[in-house]
């Protein structure tokens, strides 16, 4: 099969669409997965902690 312009266009118009949809579904699942809720809440609040030294000596 020749790898010409039309082949690439067909590929990007089909698989390009599918992988973007797959990615959006993956991101939505990651975002709304109930088990991630606590880790997101912690991340959101922890940056406001006042202490100013790293944890590792």
């Amino acid at each position: 099969m020749d790898l010409d312009h039309d082949t690439l266009v067909a590929f990007s118009k089909s698989w390009g669409l599918f992988y973007l949809i797959a990615l959006s579904i993956a991101v939505l699942i990651y975002t709304f997965l109930p088990s991630n809720r606590k880790r997101f809440d912690d991340a959101k609040k922890n940056i406001l902690d006042k202490d100013d030294t790293p944890w590792r000596r």
């Binding site: 990615l23 975002t31 997101f40 912690d42 006042k50 030294t53 790293p54 000596r57």
Partner: protein, 550 residues
């Protein structure tokens, strides 16, 4: 600064500088009277100058091991100073180049000061010099604080920061000598590009290694944006700058891309430079310094994740809207147009998230000019992303393209969003970093805020007016079917707007100078804050005197 390095780290720095100096010598020898030779000399000077710093403190006593229990803030401080110095330089060139459009005699008949050479010196000075240093400095700060880990290296942060500045200096001095690849925002020639690749990969590795040391189980979203910025800029830079030099002794090179492919690669680069250099990294600042300054967590963390992935994946496809009505295939133009319009959703999600964070803290926005910088930056972010999506629509673009409307759009983003969020972050960061209670003068922050806002508004309104007038004059036909106006007619109509634009830029520059003074006085004259005094290494107090980490 050098006193904070161990003897082996000092030796390592000296060796790096020696290798750099040798590279400069090779460039000078091969390039001779070519601009490459001049740049070789410049690299040698750079390396000798820094070697002086390293060698003069080479035999000082070793630093205390305690320092590893503290954050590594020295490179951040230098980064802020460099960033502000570039801001004043870049904005001064900007005002000058804007004034040249109104009064062309201001080029003084010299080659180096002609419009075509000053203009990239302005864009490089503000985008890479000011913006780039601000991104590097704040990324070093945010990654340490949000990971609760010290930077994973003693020498590499300096290598990244100073190496990047060497790139900027090579770029700007090259323009003055007439060197350019003629690719917008990627003007520097092949040897500077190769150097930046080395610096950038070091940056990437340093960032990843610091994240790997983190204590927090989850990587805070600001770091995602910084990572996107680092990774994507590396990819863009490498692909767009693939070029073959005329010879090893010659500064000039030719791109491997040709014709419409070259144009597409350039604007894939150019638009993603806007996306990942001028947006992603600054959104990272927003997601960290806004909650810190407002004292409130971000409104919705989930929304920040969704908008991150939206911005990352949509932006990649938007570049072709720079090439409407060109030889670029129509479907590629459509693709760019569609993705540009879709981009409005994650962009406004970020802006909305930021504004909703402020809900309940509006009294702070009223009283605190620093928080107001950040807030107005968000408003301009919302405005310019809307405008960007709108301008990317092909029929709108037929009116706006090649006119000052584009210039106005870029500056609404660059002044209103990028610069304001940076100043807001710096005013938050400077007292924290130097352990001061507050900035030297809240009044001067206020003065800076109003100068910056007035400057931006004057600039943007002038360019909107002139851009739309230009666009309309260029497409007005007489009854006979000929163009009603010549190009010179439209140029004359621009005269008052060009004066207004230079004036707006001048206000903005004055604001940046006020900021420099304020930062300088904060570092020099504001007393150390009692609560922050405890963890300063130079006072010799044991680091344990600070509140324990956990």
């Amino acid at each position: 600064m050098i006193a904070q390095l161990t003897t082996s780290e000092r030796r390592q720095s000296a060796i790096i500088l020696l290798v750099l100096g040798m590279a400069g010598l090779a460039m000078a020898a091969l390039g001779r009277s070519d601009p490459l030779g001049v740049h070789g000399l410049l690299v040698i000077l750079f390396s000798v100058g820094l070697s002086y710093f390293v060698l003069s403190s080479f035999y000082e006593p070793e630093p205390e091991t305690d320092r590893l229990g503290l954050y590594y803030d020295d490179p951040i401080k230098v980064g802020i100073v460099l960033s502000m110095a570039w801001a004043v330089f870049g904005m001064f060139i900007g005002v000058w180049v804007a004034a040249q459009l109104a009064w062309p005699d201001l080029a003084f008949d010299a080659a180096w000061s002609s419009f075509g050479r000053l203009r990239p010196a302005h864009t490089t000075g503000v985008i890479f010099g000011f913006g780039g240093n601000a991104l590097i400095a704040t990324s070093f700060h945010v990654v340490q604080r949000t990971s609760r880990a010290r930077l994973a290296g003693q020498v590499s942060p300096w290598f990244v920061l100073l190496g990047f500045n060497l790139f900027c200096v090579l770029a700007v001095t090259g323009y003055f000598m007439g060197l350019t690849q003629s690719k917008e925002y990627a003007e520097p020639e092949w040897y500077a590009d190769l150097w930046l690749v080395i610096v950038w990969i070091t940056y990437f590795v340093l960032y990843l290694r610091t994240l790997a040391r983190r204590k927090e189980p989850h990587i805070y979203v600001a770091n995602w944006y910084y990572m996107a910025f680092i990774v994507v800029v590396a990819i863009l830079h490498i692909v767009n700058n693939v070029a073959v030099p005329v010879s090893l002794g010659h500064a000039k090179s030719y791109s491997v891309w040709a014709g419409v492919q070259d144009a597409m690669v350039q604007w894939w680069y150019g638009h993603n430079a806007v996306a990942f250099f001028l947006t992603a990294g600054f959104l990272a600042m927003l997601y960290y310094y806004l909650p810190i300054r407002a004292g409130r967590p971000i409104f919705s963390y989930r929304l920040s994740i969704l908008s991150f992935w939206g911005i990352t994946f949509f932006y990649m496809w938007a570049g072709s809207h720079h090439l409407h009505y060109t030889a670029l295939p129509h479907w590629v133009q459509n693709l760019g147009m569609t993705f540009s319009v879709m981009l409005l959703v994650p962009s406004w999600a970020s802006a909305g998230n930021a504004l909703l964070t402020l809900n309940g803290a509006w009294h702070k926005v009223r009283d605190d000019a620093t928080l107001r910088f950040i807030t107005v930056a968000v408003l301009f972010y919302g405005l310019s992303t809307f405008e960007g999506s709108f301008l990317a629509i092909r029929p709108v673009n037929s009116l706006s393209h090649y006119t000052d409307w584009t210039v106005g759009h870029v500056h609404a983003g660059a002044l209103g969003w990028v610069a304001l969020i940076t100043f807001g972050s710096f005013y938050t960061l400077v007292p924290t970093l130097w352990k001061r209670e507050r900035m030297y003068s809240a009044g001067l922050v206020e003065v800076h805020f109003w100068l910056a806002l007035a400057g931006t508004l004057v600039y943007v309104f002038a360019m909107w007016n002139s851009g739309i007038i230009q666009g309309l004059m260029w497409r007005t036909y007489t009854d006979d079917g000929t163009l009603a106006y010549s190009f010179i007619d439209s140029l004359l109509a621009m005269y008052p707007y060009y004066i207004a634009r230079a004036f707006g830029g001048l206000l903005f520059l004055l604001g940046a100078i006020v900021a420099c003074y304020n930062i300088w006085m904060t570092v020099r004259h504001v007393p150390l804050s009692a609560s922050r005094r405890a963890d300063i290494p130079i006072t010799g107090l044991p680091a344990g005197a600070a509140t324990p980490a956990e």
